[in-house]
Amino acid sequence: MATSKVEGSSSLRHAFGGVLSVFILFLIGVVAFSIRLFSVIKYESVIHEFDPYFNYRVTQFLSKNGIYDFWNWFDDRTWYPLGRVIGGTVYPGLTLTAGTMWKLANSLNIPLSVETVCVFTAPIFSAFAAWATYLLTKEVKGPGAGITAAAILAMVPSYISRSVAGSYDNEAVAIFALIFTFYLYIKTLNTGSLFYATLNSLAYFYMVCSWGGYTFIINLIPMHVLLCIVTGRYSSRLYIAYAPLVVLGTLLAALVPVVGFNAVMTSEHFGSFLVFIIIHVVALVYYIKGILTPRLFKVATTLVLTVGIAVCAVVVAILVALVASSPTKGWSGRSLSLLDPTYASKYIPIIASVSEHQPPTWPSYFMDINVLAFLVPAGIVACFLPLSDASSFAVLYLVTSVYFSGVMVRLMLVLAPAACIMSGIALSEAFGVLTRSMKFHITKYFECSHTEAPAKLGESTSTESSAPLENMTKSDTTEKPEVARKEKVARRKQKKEKELTENAHVKPVSAKKERRPLVLPLEASIVSVFLLIVLGGLYVLHCVWAAAEAYSAPSIVLTSHSHDGLHVFDDFREAYAWLRHNTEVDDKVASWWDYGYQTTAMANRTVIVDNNTWNNTHIATVGTAMSSPEKAAWEIFNSLDVKYVLVVFGGLVGYPSDDINKFLWMVRIGGGVFPHIKEADYLKDGQYRVDAQATHTMLNCLMYKLSYYRFVETDGKGFDRVRRYEIGKKHFKLTHFEEVFTTHHWMVRIYKLKPQKNRIRGKSRKSKLGSKSTSSKSGGMTHKNPWN
């Protein structure tokens, strides 16, 4: 009777717990969605940045023309005159997902526009990612840790920065795919079911469709398999988890046109094949070990080793020769720059010039993952008590992502889920210990009978906490390293927690073999729970602040607060709209590659180079044109059929990311292909300046002229608010270009190429006639100027 009553109440408690956790997960999804809406509230529902505009344009094309045209689309409005094969060079996951959602909504008669679906794709998928984190952490540690990790991931600023409403980029769906693939892998590892292995391969396929970062998965999982084999944790479940994934995964990855045959030919995938072979060898060894006697097994091993090593040496020699014959050893430039961080700056200036490819600074860790930065070591320790396949995977994932986040600030995004999982585990374990102590003391207070207290507690403590309890009291040999480790970790935490861990280990040293529950004093537990809740509150506060202030800027619209209210700088859209309405449909626009995607999406004009940066020579041509004097630049642009040139200039309002600040990269990239452009010509004493001390080449290059033409008319002195000095050359005229449009705050300036004159005057008649001569431009111009 008593047992059935206890069982009934515990099943009721389980049912109530289940409903409560579903409700909590729903709320977590709502939080994840809403915290990303700050930019929509503060500005408007608009697509941000540069890359999302390309994805938006592709989604528009998909929704208008259907999937077959999208798959075979050759885009002739970009990279003129080369064009770009969109079907074969884009990761289709994001656009197909958004296109499907749009189609579904419209078929249900919910009239959402494509732009709305694109803007809100990222918040929806971040809610899904939080739920996937719950599932993954539940497999690693338990449902309590799962809910904590999901709540933390919903708000972590690093993930928010790449998935706000409007940031319609690959990472929006890729992070969800990453976590979901890892969850299915761990689930297969824990259950050994081939069904989950199939689902794992399909989730991996979705990840390959979505992001180039899929190489992280296809290298991390083999590393984990190798780790399991080396630490003696090989089991048949490991084989079922890994082998089908490699075969199916490689096939599915080869199906995506962007990857194609790279799935079997590039070094990024060789790790998985190598471990595939290794796991088969290990499986065979274990099988033979099972059916032979130990003596015969020894004979077998000696035989196999002598023969096998000879064969292996030959095969490895062939492979190494094949791989070493290619200059990059088979790796792509981007992957190589991850392994050797100095590679890009030496050989590929384009990769080195992107700001998100720089290494992060220490404060950016605290900004992006905040409190998690010091909860993670506690999580690592908790993963080792006890160590299972799943928790070893979590530790490996964290360690590798910490390394990669140190190489490139953009990859802090991959660190975020790992840090959330670890912190969720740490917090959940901490709460478990503390609440158990509180419960123990409170029940003891109400029991008032000494003999019954320990026995009753053995039954009434929940099942998930009794197991680690017994582990900690029974194992004496692991006390010392645990104490040492815990003390080392505790030095980094707050003082209070250090006292706690020292208290925690006073008890087991004295307890011999009896089942004493591991508890802390009541006051310490209450204060610690309160402090942990305050810690969580501070984390939430930071996340909301980061989402609202730091990561919600759409960067296509700028605002500034001044004493007379809010100023809105909408110059970019003003310029693109002018282009759209005042130029011919087939006119070509040249600008630096940053603005290519926005120009094709919003102005609907053909551009020369855009953010895809697949052709370095083409970009170098534009860079050379921007760095050359007017006539040479005109020649280059004319050969490309360019009609309009667009520059971004921030000197009037103090916008720091303008083309003059990016100019040195144009010189470097141009100089990498055309040797007559030398960076030293543009620097005075190694310093980059555009004032009166600037070099002659700098003051006469096209970028300087197009940025500062008529700038002196604004304030009479030509004071540049970004560089904070007066410019060098103030009064000059343009000979080969004419200004057609400058936006309200002078942020975008559009120039038209002047057509060539019909009659060119001879050498003898020079500017001595003086009518239309350009002043203060002579400098070192010794060759004839046919435009006078």
Binding site: G192, S193, A197, P244, V247, L248, L296
Partner: protein, 114 residues
Amino acid sequence: MAKGTNDAQLLVQSLRKAYAATPTSLKIIDLYVVYAVATALIQVAYMAMVGSFPFNSFLSGVLSCVGTAVLAVCLRIQVNKDNKEFKDLPPERAFADFVLCNLVLHLVIMNFLG
């Protein structure tokens, strides 16, 4: 030297004896695996003779053989009564998973065959 060959013979004999003790159903699966791997090797030899164009057909052919071999090995692991980890998994469920995974594999192969 003689001891070496003697040991090798003893080894092969004991292997053969131990393998004869496995149930017939597992032996059928092993035969299927051997057949799949042999087909893959034949395809590789053919590619070495006539060249690798079209590469996607070669890849899909070889990977389908390797894939069914791997899946058959997984089925064998799950159906083997000596395996304590899978003793509460009904063999029908294992076979159903095997069929499902093979379906997905062959769907992908059909798509990639070109």
